[in-house]
């Protein structure tokens, strides 16, 4: 996938991704309408389908609210890249089918066009031509992501499959 990079800093917490006051709804479009509004009020209007959110350390820290990755996904974010993620956010994103990549080192700046290969974990900055490698996900997470999320994965498999994890 290829998209425009929206770049933010370290420790973007879930209250910034979607404030608690907006989380009590099953209307996911209303979550997207408030995504990141206390961090960057313009984001929700600027983001286009397939755009790439880029952050620093510990993206998604704080609450366990799955509304955070849902808000990003419904707003159009195609993939989130961070140096690393807060644990619950990381699982939640994969579980709802929002790709997340841990890329410890990159040169992406706001407005860069970025190409992401989810299969290989390669991230290419079109402006500089440089290629960066994401940390490899455990196979179970790749399987969940490829199924489109944990709901689809469990419908297919019935339970978790860890046995077939030769890459670990």
């Amino acid at each position: 996938m290829q998209g425009l990079a929206h770049v933010y800093g370290d420790n973007i917490d879930t209250d910034r991704i979607i404030p608690g006051k907006y989380t009590k709804t099953l209307d996911t479009a209303s979550l997207a309408a408030h995504v990141l509004e206390d961090l960057d009020p313009a984001f929700k209007d600027n983001v286009k389908s397939g755009d790439i959110l880029v952050a620093g350390d510990n993206f998604g820290c704080g609450s366990s609210r799955e509304q955070a990755p849902i808000a990003l996904k419904v707003a159009g974010v195609g993939v989130v890249i961070a140096r690393y993620f807060a644990r619950i956010f990381f699982r939640n994103a994969i579980n709802i089918g929002l790709p997340v990549l841990e890329v410890p080192d990159h040169d992406i700046e706001p407005g860069d066009e970025v190409i992401v290969d989810l299969e290989t974990g390669e991230v290419i900055n079109c402006r500089t031509g440089k290629c960066f490698q994401a940390t490899r996900l455990p196979k179970v997470m790749i399987d969940i992501l490829q199924a489109g999320g944990l709901v689809a994965y469990l419908k297919e498999n019935g339970t978790y499959q860890l046995e077939a994890t030769p890459n670990l």
């Binding site: 209250d15 006051k21 989380t23 099953l26 366990s64 469990l154 860890l162």
Partner: protein
């Protein structure tokens, strides 16, 4: 083995070590009115049917309770209906905060593996359970299968030599430690707290400690069980002498002063001294971090015979109905209300910014909660300081941030 390695090994029936991916059975789950509706939706989408074990599931209406609007009222109705259909215990509005209830009602016990759809679930490590926060879909999958996949966490060991000075509390200690570890310092890891500073602590204080493992990014946390007293017999899990820790940090906390987390991240922690005199408009005691009887009693001791300062509103939300009843019975509540405090129903209160007391623009809040991220209490144009209930109470009396020793 560390405490989490021991608990997980026992459950899966073989010796597992940090770094391994495992599938484990789960002893209990819970979800709240923030996470429950999405968990129910995901459960239905997974094919629905009966949950794996209704007696091991709990639903709690605490985050926006009573419902402040029709949208949330309907989400509560959805939870009630699911609970009724499934035979799951639903804790109603006013019964209390999920974490307090899980321990009070023994939904979680020492040695259990517990998944809670709330980030402060590691609180249960106060009684020696391996408890992790998860999101709604993970929770739904446990309700469906009774299992979860996990990475056995590495463990950071934190040793604190005490005792704490008189008037310095578990909250001051955990704020100090969150400041040292940082908001991300324990990401993906377990934390074990050990040492004389913890051994004399009540269960309530131990819960304050493990509660804020979430603010270190931790997956789960434990206070060593030495000195732990529960109402029932239990088998304590200690780590082995030769357990492998990813890091051991040691602190002498015998001289620790009251601590403050300054806006706008819980790990921005400083001694109270440079902030004394900072005017406040709003004081709050409650939450899964500090809404227990000893917290209300500590506040009452400071407020006895005094009044909340003009221009300050002081809100109190007991962590559970049981806490509320005890505080009524022993006179704590009378003291607090006479001093000018407003008592809310047991539940999360204004902590999450959904209802019951949103701060105004440019207002300064001093709160005994665990988070002060921008916008946390519902208004991104206000600022939140986190402190011990003692500091919150003293500050409410003075209308400015105040060292509690003045009133102790």
């Amino acid at each position: 083995m560390t405490i989490s390695e021991k608990i997980l090994s026992k459950k899966v029936g073989r010796s597992v070590r940090a770094g391994e991916l495992i599938i484990t059975e789960v002893d209990g789950v819970m979800a709240t009115d923030t996470t429950g509706p999405y968990a129910i939706k995901a459960f239905e989408e997974m094919g629905g049917g009966q949950v794996w074990d209704a007696a091991r599931c709990a639903l709690i209406i605490d985050h926006a309770a009573p419902a402040p609007n029709e949208r949330i009222a309907n989400l509560h109705s959805m939870m009630r209906e699911f609970a009724r259909e499934q035979g799951i215990r639903l804790f109603e509005i006013g019964e209390g905060i999920c974490h307090q209830l899980m321990i009070e009602h023994q939904y979680v016990r020492p040695g259990d593996i517990f998944m809670g759809a709330d980030s402060h679930t590691p609180t249960y490590g106060a009684i020696g359970a391996m408890a992790c926060g998860v999101g709604s879909t993970d929770l739904a999958a446990v309700m469906k299968t009774g299992k979860i996949w996990l990475k056995v966490p590495e463990t950071i060991r934190i040793i604190c030599h005490g005792p704490l000075k008189a008037g310095v509390t578990a909250k001051d200690l955990i704020l100090y430690l969150v400041g040292k570890i940082s908001i991300s310092g324990a990401t993906y890891q377990a934390v074990e707290f050990k040492g004389s500073a913890f051994e004399e602590m009540t269960l309530a204080s131990r819960m304050t400690i493990t509660n804020m493992v979430a603010e270190m990014g931790g997956k789960t946390g434990f206070v060593h069980p030495k000195g732990l007293e529960l109402d029932y017999e239990f088998e304590a899990t200690y780590p082995d002498e030769n357990a492998a820790y990813v890091q051991t940090l040691e602190f002498d906390v015998s001289g620790l002063e009251p601590q403050l987390s300054i806006p706008e991240s819980p790990d921005q922690v400083e001694n109270i001294s440079p902030h004394e005199g900072q005017p406040i408009q709003y004081a709050f005691i409650g939450t899964c971090c500090n809404g227990r009887l000893e917290d209300l009693q500590a506040a009452a001791q400071i407020l006895a015979g005094k009044k909340v300062a003009n221009g300050v509103r002081f809100l109190i939300a007991p962590a559970s109905r049981s806490v509320l009843l005890d505080a009524i019975t022993d006179g704590t509540l009378q003291t607090l209300v006479a001093a000018g405090a407003t008592v809310l129903n047991p539940g999360c209160g204004p902590c999450v910014g959904t209802h019951q007391g949103v701060p105004g623009n440019d207002e300064i809040v001093i709160s005994a909660a665990n988070r002060n991220f921008r916008g946390r209490m519902g208004n991104p144009n206000s600022n939140i300081y986190l402190a011990a209930p003692t500091t919150v109470a003293a500050s409410a009396v003075e209308g400015k941030i105040t060292h509690p020793k003045k009133y102790q």
